[in-house]
Amino acid sequence: MHLITKTAFAAAVSLALTGTSWAQTIGPSGETATPSAEVVVADSDIATLKAGNHTAALVWHDQSDFVSAVSAGATDEFARFGIEVVATTNAAFDTAKQRSDIETVLAKEPSIVLALPLDPVASAAAFKEATETGVQLVFLSNVPAGYEHGTHYASIVTDDLFQMGKQAADALAADLGGKGKVGWIFHDATYYVTNQRDNAFKTTIENDYPEMEIVATAGISDPARAEEIANAMLLKHPDLAGVYVTWAGPAEGVLSALRSNGNKSTKIVTLDLSEPIALDMVRGGNVSAIVADEAYELGRAMAASAARGLLGQDSPAFVVAPAITVNADNVQEGWQTSLHRDAPKSLTQ
């Protein structure tokens, strides 16, 4: 038994180290994942939190449906503890602006900062001032290089990235009956979130579906160029049964390429909810499924971890929120679970 455990551990480590073939979501520094549902504040502690008159700032990387849902989850959870959100910022993927944003919100002396650090290297100096002032920091998805759990931040909270990629592969395989040629459009950048999701899709197809084969791969860094990339891919491989696209933005371009080629047979799976993509799906078009994260739950767990920090309670270093597969049958439920709001009208009419 002992030997088996040890071997399994060694295998897990070697999987983690090879970087492309891990079997589950691991933290940026190899932390094991704790489900977000386990991060909660005890009812008996709420009064203490309310008495503290705490405030929070949200320092985001960008603006999107996803960020809005995370903010809503955090704001609602904070409200339960009497914690007011006093500032929200958007760095528009600019590391320099994010640094300025942090300095600016610190002027309001918040007790908590929830943030998505844009880049492990360039964000290290940016968040230093926040760690020095003793603010409870909870990171979304990324962690600045050299930061330590407990000393510098309370938790990293992220999607179950591996599950998202795996579920996308499973959904495509289910739609195609487990066989066919597949195109893989991945995010061509060193970005922890997309890299883990993209690789999980690839690994799952390679390991679990012997009759499916990834015959075309293409990287994108600019979503606006997705249509050109898809056109080139379809020209070379007109017989693709399915295409994986790294997230919904570029998937819209891929869908547009399929439409302009009159291609009704190639299936698309992608990640993150988007109305145009979901509309094609409910109308029985090319899109077979969208895998989404529970963004609202991410925000809730971030807020809970930060509140636990204020109470002097430890939280797990690395927390993941579940993934859900959304298809034509569960669109309404998918939107509610992921973004905590009704699906757009166009999808349910």
């Binding site: 290297v121 100096a125 060193t190």
Partner: protein
């Protein structure tokens, strides 16, 4: 509104719009956010330090606009310069890193300048193209990876250091403004820049080497963008391909609100400094007000629109 604009024209408000705007916005935030940390020394210092790179880019752009040209590529130059400097600093001492950053900036400015001045291609199109070209180079240089800067003297000089208690970023801002103002107002080059921007043919006839002036302003702008890249690299202790990318509109707005004419012949370095500080203060205050990100963008857009409308009133007459 019409009456207000008429009044502004009569008393030539456009000349002072940046100072009045700056004061009004400052007073507004001071009153509404006085208790929210806006007036703390730390926050006011933050605003000045955060705007250092944009102020320095703005100075370069004043030269270019005053000469009747435009440079849209300076944001990309910032990234290429910062990355070049960071990569060199990984292997070589401070001097070479600084040389690399500034050298790359001036070289790209030279490249833009030759196309604009000697091939007589429109600067708008040249720099629109080189903006994309150098943004691409910045991305491919390190395969989209960020490069850390661990050279402590570099970080001190260009980022977090200070001299006699004055932060280095403030010193760079003041130095660049002082030199820029002097060159622009007191030297032959400054006069030639204005003459070229005002009426290139007349300038040429009166013996000014117009192509040389155009080349010089593009090089000044490139060099200052390189310096801004060094400041970003020092401040973040890292360089990344996104640096400077989002500064284009902020810097153009700062310069125009500051009182520099979009079509040449008129410019002010001090105005650009105040314009840049105003933009920084606006960003800062709107965040402290606790507005949602979308509302921040809307309010900022409206204020810039009003400021630019009043600034350009005089020019467009």
């Amino acid at each position: 509104m019409q009456q207000l604009l008429e009044l502004s024209r009569r008393i030539n408000l456009s000349q002072y719009v940046v100072y009045i705007g700056f004061l009004l916005i400052f007073l507004f935030f001071a009153i509404t956010l006085g208790d929210d940390g806006f007036l703390t020394q730390r926050n006011l210092t933050n605003i000045i330090l955060q705007t250092a790179p944009t102020t320095i880019m703005a100075i370069g752009l004043v030269f270019v606009l005053a000469a009747g040209e435009i440079d849209l590529s300076f944001g990309s130059i910032v990234a290429v310069a910062a990355l070049s400097s960071a990569v060199i600093l990984g292997e070589y001492p401070l001097f070479y890193g600084v040389l690399a950053g500034l050298g790359v900036g001036i070289a790209i400015g030279f490249f833009n300048g030759v196309l604009v001045a000697y091939l007589r291609l429109p600067s708008f199109l040249v720099t629109l193209a080189t903006m994309g070209l150098f943004a691409g180079i910045a991305r491919s240089m390190t395969n989209l990876r960020s490069v850390p800067v661990i050279n402590e003297s570099f970080v001190g000089f260009f980022g977090s250091g200070s001299l006699f208690g004055v932060p280095s970023l403030l010193l760079w801002t003041l130095g660049a403004v002082a030199v820029g103002h002097f060159v622009f107002r007191e030297t032959k080059l400054g006069a030639h820049v204005l003459a070229t921007g005002d009426n290139p043919r007349a300038a040429q006839v009166s013996g000014i080497k117009v192509p040389r002036v155009r080349l010089m302003v593009m090089m000044i702008c490139g060099g200052l963008a390189g310096l801004a890249g060094l400041l970003y690299a020092g401040r973040l202790q890292a360089a990344r391909y996104t640096l400077g990318e989002s500064d284009l509109m902020t810097v153009i707005a700062a310069v125009i609100i500051g009182g520099t004419a979009l079509n040449g012949g008129k410019g002010t370095i001090i105005g650009a400094l105040v314009g840049s500080l105003m933009m920084g203060m606006l960003n800062n205050g709107l965040i402290l007000m606790g507005l949602s990100v979308s509302d921040q963008m809307i309010v900022r857009g409206v204020i810039i629109l009003i400021a630019v409308a009043i600034s350009l009133r005089d020019v467009n007459r």
